[in-house]
């Protein structure tokens, strides 16, 4: 009897010692940051700058001594914009790579495909995709850095209201981004008392939207037009809009907030407004703006390192990585539950995308104000508010 107890105690001690040893070994081991991004394929414009940003800042953090005295190690897979491979890679990150945290998921599709698996494995996950469904309703282990399309709709419609516009025409793409944006716009419009008198769509591969815009033009009482869409479609809409001489205030969504859109749309874009990250206008932010320094730094560092233009999408990865680092530092370890809790309680982190105030009910932490309303003036973005 005594013997067996002794033996058991001995076993326990051995296990404890082994565990201790393992922990001390682990202390020197790198912190594994897993990522699955759409680096190639149709969503490569998202994944490419995101991966570049992660690589560059992990390098930088490691040069500065790492996190908690441990180096960071990036383990990354390319999901080619395919949701099912995103799910497979998430599973590989969890099971065989045993990462401590996942920062990735370029598209909403990839994120949503991987989320249940990650939830089950209980690994903190910071998504870089936009749709509101990712964090509404709140999933315990899932966070995200971009603003949702609902915030964009709120920002646009309240800007319209400030200008005294109450009746609008809506044209949207039939892709995931456009149709989700359309739903959110209709909902928010109802709440703000704005009437949507015309509601037309176009598909991503359409090459001429004159017919849809003519439809809007012939609807009586419309005071402004909003286009919710992504890719080259909105640029064609913008051109057709100018050709038709619509003459009404014109809004686009954050989906086209980039310099390449200005290039495509050319002079037709003159006067249009859209909600965007301050990254497009780093120098016109007032000095009192807490984001100014962060935004300017990210832009200059990225452009110096990669020799290509900075994009808002890369900024989502920047914020994701910084949130992860901050959470691990606060938690003092990479213990998943502690990191998750630290993430959930991050307050006042000023990132490139906006100021994050996470809470158990809000795993995004941004407010609609993090979008700035920009107007195109003389072919350049101009900060309106």
């Amino acid at each position: 009897m005594l013997k067996t107890m002794m033996r058991r105690a001995g076993k326990c001690a051995a296990v404890a010692a082994a565990a201790l040893m393992m922990m001390s070994v682990q202390a020197a081991e790198p912190i594994k940051i897993g990522s699955f991004l759409s680096v190639t394929g149709p969503a490569s414009f998202l994944g490419d700058p995101e991966l570049k940003t992660l690589e560059m800042y992990i390098e930088k953090i490691n040069e500065e001594g790492g996190v908690l005295g441990r180096q960071l190690e990036l383990i990354h897979y390319d999901d080619v914009g395919n949701a099912s491979s995103a799910r497979n890679f998430a599973s590989r990150l969890i099971r065989s790579d045993q990462v401590d945290i996942i920062v990735g998921g370029s598209t909403t599709g990839a994120t949503m495909a991987a989320a249940p698996l990650i939830e089950q494995a209980q690994v903190p996950f910071i998504s870089l995709a936009g749709a509101v469904v990712i964090t509404t309703p709140v999933k315990k282990w899932v966070f995200k850095t971009p603003q949702s399309d609902r915030m964009a709709a709120e920002r646009i419609l309240s800007d319209m209201k400030d200008r005294g516009i109450t009746k609008i025409g809506l044209i949207s793409g039939t892709g995931g981004f456009g149709s989700s944006g359309r739903t959110q716009t209709l909902e928010v419009a109802g709440l703000l008392g704005i009437e949507v008198l015309a509601d037309v769509t176009y598909s991503g591969s359409d090459t001429d939207m004159t017919a849809q815009l003519t439809n809007i033009r012939n609807t009586k009482g419309i005071e402004a037009v909003l286009n919710f869409g992504f890719g080259q479609g909105p640029a064609i809409v913008t051109r057709n809009y100018a050709q038709l001489g619509m003459g009404l205030p014109f809004y686009q969504s954050h989906g086209v907030a980039s310099d390449s859109f200005l290039e495509l749309a050319g002079s037709s874009a003159e006067g249009l407004r859209l909600p965007a990250s301050p990254l497009l206008v780093p120098d016109s932010l007032p000095d009192s703006d807490p984001q100014k320094a962060v935004v300017q730094n990210y832009k200059s560092e990225y452009e110096a390192r990669w020799g290509s233009k900075v994009s808002t999408f890369g900024a989502y990865a920047y914020d994701g990585l910084m949130l992860a680092v901050r959470a691990i530092e606060t938690a003092g370890s990479t213990e998943p539950e502690a990191v998750r809790e630290a993430l959930e309680n991050i307050k006042g982190y000023v990132g490139v995308t906006g100021e994050f105030n996470m809470s158990p009910n809000d795993h995004n932490g941004l407010s609609a104000d993090s979008f700035r309303i920009l107007e195109v003036q003389n072919g350049e973005w101009k900060l309106i508010n």
């Binding site: 037309v200 769509t201 001429d208 004159t210 017919a211 640029a235 050319g266």
Partner: protein, 291 residues
């Protein structure tokens, strides 16, 4: 009311003219070899992208256009020489699959060379739209229509008045007989690929200021062109033109009057209807079986 109708009509005719040009390219190759060349859309893309990139390098616009067309023509010949000719004994179906492979290959190269971004090409003439009875017409649409008309007339003349054109026709009617009277059918085939590449690239260039251009623009436009050719009846030149215009106009009208959501559905059900009642298309050749 009239202005609305005209607006939809203009939109439809413009895009329809593009479909028609692509459909003509399909017809040319189909006629000479019974192959449906799914790389047709890539010629369109090469035309637009090469012009844009050369113009960006400082080559004058007109020269850039000419060079782009030549590049596409060379590519058409290369496609026939290196992909189709080595498999000459193969089935038509095998050849069609080869063209699909070739199109993926060309698209991949284009993506590597030119990147994935969309590019703009300036309008050939003024940016100011033209107003007709309250409807607005992009000045570039006139270019599309004009160039399209000239090409169609040129093709008709080529096939009816020149010896080479007649040789192509002869090969399409009966390859064996054509060979017996001394027509080099391989040469004819090469010519057909070159011509359809030229047609495709011209379509890609004139339409680029309206649609923008990118490495993957050929997929959807090529498919629509094929649909137009099928509606008109594969192998019929008139059919290709009518099919293209019809498809464009139906698309624009249904987007305007019914709902943009059903635009593609209406266009595709039209194909079903046409093919259901006239399996060989509107102007397809009647095949008489000889016993």
């Amino acid at each position: 009311m009239l202005s609305e109708f005209l607006q939809y009509l203009f939109t439809g005719i413009t895009i329809g003219a593009t479909y028609a040009l692509i459909a003509l390219g399909f017809t040319l190759i189909y006629n000479s070899s019974h192959v449906i060349n799914f790389a047709q859309g890539e010629f369109l893309m090469i035309g637009g992208m090469a012009t844009v990139s050369m113009a960006a390098m400082g080559v004058p616009m007109v020269l850039a256009i000419v060079l782009a067309i030549i590049l596409a023509g060379v590519l058409g010949i290369a496609l026939q020489r290196f992909a189709i000719a080595p498999a000459k004994q193969a089935d038509v179906v095998t050849l069609i699959i080869i063209t699909i492979g070739a199109s993926i290959f060309i698209r991949g190269i284009a993506q590597l060379v030119w990147g994935k971004e969309y590019h703009v090409m300036p309008n050939f003439s003024t940016n100011e739209p033209i107003e007709v009875f309250g409807a607005v017409l992009n000045s570039q649409s006139l270019w599309v229509l004009g160039v399209g008309a000239v090409l169609v007339v040129a093709l008709v003349l080529f096939f009816t008045k020149t010896l080479i054109g007649k040789a192509i026709l002869a090969t399409s009617m009966n390859k064996e007989a054509a060979r017996l009277v001394g027509i080099r059918t391989q040469m004819v085939l090469m010519l057909a690929f070159m011509l359809s590449a030229l047609l495709g690239s011209v379509a890609g260039i004139v339409v680029a200021p309206i649609t923008f251009t990118s490495y993957d623009i050929g997929i959807i436009l090529g498919l629509k062109g094929f649909v137009a050719a099928a509606i008109g009846g594969l192998g019929s030149g008139v059919g290709a033109v009518v099919g293209g215009l019809l498809l464009g106009i139906v698309e624009a009208m249904s987007a305007g009057y019914i709902s943009s959501d059903y635009k593609d559905a209406v266009a595709f059900s039209m194909i079903l209807l046409v093919l259901f009642f006239m399996p060989r298309g509107l102007f397809g050749a009647k095949i008489v079986e000889r016993v």
